[in-house]
Amino acid sequence: MAAQTPVPGTATGLTEGEIRVFEDASAPRRTDAERIAEIPTKRPFRFGKWFAATGWRHAVGIVVVVFSLFPIVFVVSSSLNPNGTLMGSNALFSQLGLDAYARILNDPQVPFLTWFGNTLLIAGVTAVCTVFLGALAAYSFSRMRFAGRRFGLISIVVIQMFPQLLAVVAIFLLMSSIGDLFPAIGLNTHLGLIMVYLGGALGVNTYLMYGFFNTVPASIDEAAKIDGAGHARIFFTIILRLVAPILAVVALLSFISTVNEFVVASVLLVDTEQQTLAVGLTKLVSNPRYADWSAFSAGAVMAALPVMALFLFLQKYIVGGLTAGAVK
């Protein structure tokens, strides 16, 4: 059946068989009914050809999906395993139950819900403030011309190359001396940690937002100004609404990276009750005496769900933001 091969040069994908039918002009005219009967109702399926065109892609896809899903399946399975060890988790889905979830939530030694609340609070406040500070700065860089503007933009691009965790020792010493005088914002406080995170707010996000602000036409500002709006009103009621997608992206990226942040949080938050999920869960499993792998898995599943849901929900926007320079 060579007749099924697409013929090069026929953009519509005529097959050789069809061309031969058209070339056969000398053949006696047939009725429409005869012709219809001749057209094969279904192309015969040929595995080799299908595999060469798209089938191998599915094979690759399945291999990759197995690779990427496997750890996720493993952790979900062990979280559903009622009796706890790492060894017992290897037989996937051999037992099902929610006991491990109950254990991690009720264990007095492991304040999982407190960690969860701390994480949401710290990451949430950091995300909102980061977006606000970044948007303010991006607005001024995008809409105003002033001395030092180029220098400011370049500084921000350069500073963002040096992540805060490089200075973790200095941050720790700074916060501990602040804490000696002002216990409310020193070591072991959420407020102090959030303030440290806000130090990175301009560096990472302003440039991303600046680019997006530039895509909003300046004529909108001018029209508003002619109508008598001041700069603050233009910013808060017009510009911020127009750039909402980038605000969502920056908030989400900031949220995710704060949830993931371990170094500074582990150094600043001393008490177990004050810690975030990243610090608490890491210390939990690194403790050799802690053998309840299922409870940890249950905690991991619960901790991952909100971030995963947010990520998949806003996937479309994030991908745009990612290609603009953010890295996980």
Partner: protein, 543 residues
């Protein structure tokens, strides 16, 4: 709130508008005030009031602790903020100030401070001033005076801080003091010969004393301002005794003498009292040691070895991570960039799931699966073999790269898919018409175009992985530990995890050395940054 008529909105390339006339300026101001509204003005005043109130409180606290430099900075910044927000001009500053304050304190200042710490001996045994070192040395070498009278004491508490209410058995006077504050005479209520209560302090009941026994027995209240006078300690919360240090501090000569052995320790400029035979009294104090930490890191054989292999592995890890994730991501992007294929969306969502999970959790789960005795790989896939995935220097590196490939390929897949789809189809068709084969089309047309848009992301991905602390720490904790090194460093440590471990784990914390290592990372990152900006020319596009 004013319209900045001298700083108008203008796109690049437009000619500068003529300067506004005074009339226009006045009109603009009136319009602005009309638009702002009362609410906005009130809000602004309230916010500034809150900021100023906090600043005043901060200044008061700082001044009582005699932190004059910091006080000055706070006053200056507060004045500047008020000036900016009450001024009619300074519009850009109004938008930049909040972020810049945080940026300067918690990003720029801490980087500079890191440099300073790198030049000091700050760390365990060297984390305070000389006075603090003296008092803590005296306190740690206290011995009970043999013929000490018995002082009736009452343990008192003020806002969580313990103190001792001491009665002098000879005079009957009452004194109160804490571990920080030497005894001071006070008016107290007496129960017989014993002072039992004093204003401003809560006396501890017997049950409280039992609960806080450890704290109480460790409490030493200095007898007077002179450290050589010793301290009062109580073993039972009822009766106190005078303790005197076996060390004697001679302030004029700056020496410590051990009265039991007669050895004289003097300040030789190394940040600790040092005897002639080189033995030191610790804790010492913090001094600037110049480039000692750097010299030590490079020339001390036991430190130089780890520094070399950690640096090499950091580069290898970052380069290999970028390479493996990029090639897998690119390959998958090509594979799934075929419109004939069905179910691409499903594959796509399933493949990017690893990227949606917080990476610290993924690394911890992988660490469990790689566990030597109980992990899934050894138990199920390798039939019970005890492969030391995370404890063998080479296999641990392989494991880290596998996990980082898992974590990172979805990002590269997304990025490459986007870049591939943005390449116009016409180019491909033109090449095909000219007779180019698919590989040639990819190699000579698609790949170069793709690299143009992806190269900056590869560089930032490299910079990110260069400091990818989480995966190393969660997966192997830098292990297996290098037992020859005097610092807690392992074979899979990268520079940033070494900084963390030197500074915050192990018996001795060496902030100075850790900061010196941080500075090495700065230098490397700075070089990368310069190369990156040279190549991408992104800075030149700023206007």
């Amino acid at each position: 709130m004013s319209i900045q008529t001298d700083e108008p909105v203008r796109l690049a390339g437009e000619p500068a508008p003529p300067p506004p006339t005074p009339k226009q300026r006045r009109a603009a101001r009136i319009a602005d005030e009309a638009s702002g509204g009362l609410l906005a003005v009130v809000l602004k005043l309230v916010l500034l009031g809150v900021v100023d109130a906090i600043a005043v409180y901060g200044v008061l606290v700082l001044a009582t602790h005699e932190q004059w430099l910091v006080t000055g900075v706070v006053v200056a910044v507060t004045a500047l903020v008020n000036w900016i927000y009450f001024s009619r001009k300074r519009l850009p500053a109004k938008y930049l100030t909040p972020g810049v304050i945080f940026l300067v304190v918690f990003q720029v200042f801490v980087l500079v401070y890191t440099f300073y710490i790198g030049l000091t001996n700050y760390g365990t045994g060297h984390n305070g001033s000389k006075e603090q070192a003296v008092s803590s040395l005296m306190a740690s070498s206290l011995e009970r005076v043999e013929d000490s009278p018995t002082y009736p004491v009452t343990v008192v508490d003020r806002a969580g801080e313990l103190g001792l209410l001491v009665t002098n058995p000879e005079t009957g006077d009452a004194y109160v003091g804490t571990s920080e504050q030497p005894l001071e005479q006070v008016d107290a209520d007496f129960d017989g010969d014993r002072a039992v209560a004093v204003e401003g302090w809560t006396s501890l009941q017997f049950a409280d004393v039992l609960n806080r026994t450890e704290e109480i027995t460790a409490l030493a209240v200095p007898y007077s301002e002179n450290p050589n006078d010793g301290a009062i300690q109580t073993p039972d919360g009822q009766s106190g005794y005078r303790y005197v240090s076996t060390l004697e501090y001679d302030e004029a000569a700056g020496t410590m003498t051990d009265t039991s052995t007669g050895v004289v320790y003097s300040d030789t400029g190394v940040g600790a009292f040092t005897a002639e035979d080189g033995s030191q009294l610790l804790p010492g104090w913090q001094i600037v040691v110049g480039f000692d930490n750097f010299v030590r890191a490079v020339t001390d054989e036991r430190l130089a070895g780890p520094l070399v292999y950690v640096t090499l592995w950091t580069f290898a890890f970052a380069i290999l991570s970028v390479a493996t994730t990029f090639f897998l991501g690119l390959f998958l992007a090509i594979v799934f960039n075929d419109l004939r294929m069905r179910g691409r969306k499903i594959y796509r969502v399933l493949m990017i799931l690893p990227y949606a999970i917080p990476s610290f959790l993924s690394a911890l789960v992988w660490a469990g699966m790689f566990n030597r005795s109980f992990g899934f790989f050894n138990q199920v896939l390798f039939g019970g073999a005890e492969i030391p995935w995370l404890t063998d220097p080479v296999l641990a590196k392989v494991a880290i790269l596998i996990v980082n490939l898992w974590l990172g390929f979805p990002y590269m897949f997304l990025v490459c898919t986007g870049a591939l789809q943005s390449i116009p189809d016409e180019l491909q068709e033109a090449a095909r018409v000219d007779g180019a084969r698919p590989w040639a089309i990819f190699r000579h047309i698609k790949l170069p175009l793709l690299l143009v848009s992806v190269a900056p992301l590869l560089i930032s991905s490299f910079a990110f992985n260069f400091n990818n602390f989480n995966i190393i720490y969660m997966l192997t904790n830098g292990g297996p530990r290098d037992s020859d090194a005097p610092i807690p460093v392992g074979h899979t440590d990268i520079l940033i995890s070494m900084v963390y471990k030197v500074a915050f784990t192990g018996q001795t914390r060496d902030y100075g050395l850790a900061s010196a290592y941080s500075i090495i990372i700065f230098v490397v990152v700075a070089i990368i940054a310069i190369l990156a900006f040279r190549r991408t020319k992104s800075l030149e596009e700023l206007n």
